[in-house]
Amino acid sequence: MDRLTPQKYLSLYIDMRRMRAIEEKATALYYEGRTIGRIYSGRGQEAISVGSTYALAADDAVAPMNRDLGTHLVRGITVREIFCQYLGRANSSNRGKDAGLHISSPERGVMVNMISNLPASLPVAVGIALAFKIRRELRVALTYFGDGASSTGASHEGINFAAVRRLPIVFICENNQWALSTATSKQFALEHLVERAAGYGIPGIQVDGNDVLAVYETTAEAVARARGGEGPTFIEAVTMRMKGHSVTDPAQYVPQSMLDAWEQKDPIRRFGNHLRQENLLDDSLDENITGKISAEIDDAVAYAEASPFLPAEEAVTDVYAEGIATTYA
């Protein structure tokens, strides 16, 4: 496993900060009526998508969820692309035909697009890993799913198949304590979801999802196992959804005390403090980072708002790869 060099620590920090700032901006745009919803905040979970995606090699594949903006940033999806996507513009990843964080970019390894149904992309990511194995490529797939999505047949079938075939894949369950208003106590009877790994016959590791270095290291070990032919790993990243389910959910069902307790464990502040202790960050550098990020975001929003929508006649294109006209069945 590659250990991160301290020099790289700073980029982890910057990507977590970018993720948070982008989501804050997207939320603000929503309240100003400049974008329509479909904003699912990963606030408080930044360490998971950022830390784990850093553990991948350039030609590995990743299938993020809707709170995994960090994955896109680490994979090099630009902030302009992200705002074009939020705003449903023609020059976004899916050309305005879908929205939210349903971004894919196969050439940058964001191979499996989130399609909304949960966790529909998990078995598909398993298929990506299967193809790697069939072609004897030493490549790995990484996918994420929620504590809520863990209750679906798709997650059980996908993980079991990957386990049986020892496929090169890493499953990260982001246990953020909530699935919409449903608490984990109503989702599963286990105390720790990670115990399920034993039932699949694969290693299960619980990690502090608010500790970006721990997430990175745990994922890197799992990726190394997968690449080495030892099959999948089930990682439970324990964290907290700090906002409502979506921008429209005030989440009054979440006890304030719970939010207060988790606020103390904020992954960005925590890692920032660590960097300061290591003399890798100080106030002036931090301010510099803030300035760069807001300039990057301002540019992206202006660019996205000036970008065109897809022309109406394009509604019927791309239905088939063979380009068959589709006015009739």
């Binding site: 449903g88 909304s116 949960l118 449903t182 989702q187 069902y253 897809l310 009739y328 069945a329």
Partner: protein, 323 residues
Amino acid sequence: MARITLRQAISDALREEMQRDENVFIMGEEVGVWGGTYAVTRGFHDEFGDKRVRDTPISEMVIGGAAAGAAMNGLRPVAEFMTINFAMLALDQIVNHAAKVHYMFGGQMKAPVVYRAPGGGGRQLGATHSHTPDVIFAHFPGLTVVSPGTPYDAKGLLKSAIRSDDPVLFIEHATLYQLRGEVPEEDYTVPIGVSEVKREGSDVTIISYAQGLQVSLEAAEQLAKEGVEAEVVDLRSLRPLDMGPALESFKKTFRAVVVEEGHRGYGIGAEIVARLQEEAFDYIDAPIKRVAQDETPLPYSQELEQMALINPDKVIAAVKEIV
């Protein structure tokens, strides 16, 4: 009579049936404290408690299957899918279990379950969350499929569905929740499998249901200003399908347009047109038209989505081609 929304009408039907019959209970994702994806069961958890308003994990197969099982074991579950798009995950439980046990086991067992499923396009929810897959479910004998287009019918049909001994898929078009209409205070039902003329006219017959009904009624009003009187028939139930009023109307107007929100290919319109030509061939004076969703997954972008969906202008254009 009070003018209430379709959402309220469905809510009222549920509440009144739960008060009438203690075997009626609700299960589904976020139906409890949250009050349902479209707030239909808001307040129910407080009123009826955990025992009768049961949240499930994110497990559509369990919603489909366990509701069928509880129904086979004497209860009257009303299972809610957050949206009909997720009901497709439970297709096997619905069509192979709920809809078949009575037949396969010689009538010994019945599964009087109601599946409620909001659906439809037009809300910029993207391709996977905007389906109108009514026809998929309506294809299977053994399953009853209803989809109301007015608050009155919504309340009456849901009561019939809950009291029915057969499994019923109750499809609610999400854009109709705010639609208001007159609904009596007293208990009433609307029979399943009975179509109804919603507007009288003599020049052309428009056959539709659910959101398509409202689109058709709007088109009919505009056509009237141009001197074309359309008769609008509301199917209300897709299975069993009552062709009576549609045939009667067609035999008077000799012209018909079928309006549905789902895709045109292999759609409701295909079925209705086939039935019209089978049962009223001698009355056909013009091609029977279909107005339906374009043959593409629904795009997110507003303009593109609206272009792919049905609207009154498309219905008017179809009518004008044949009158």
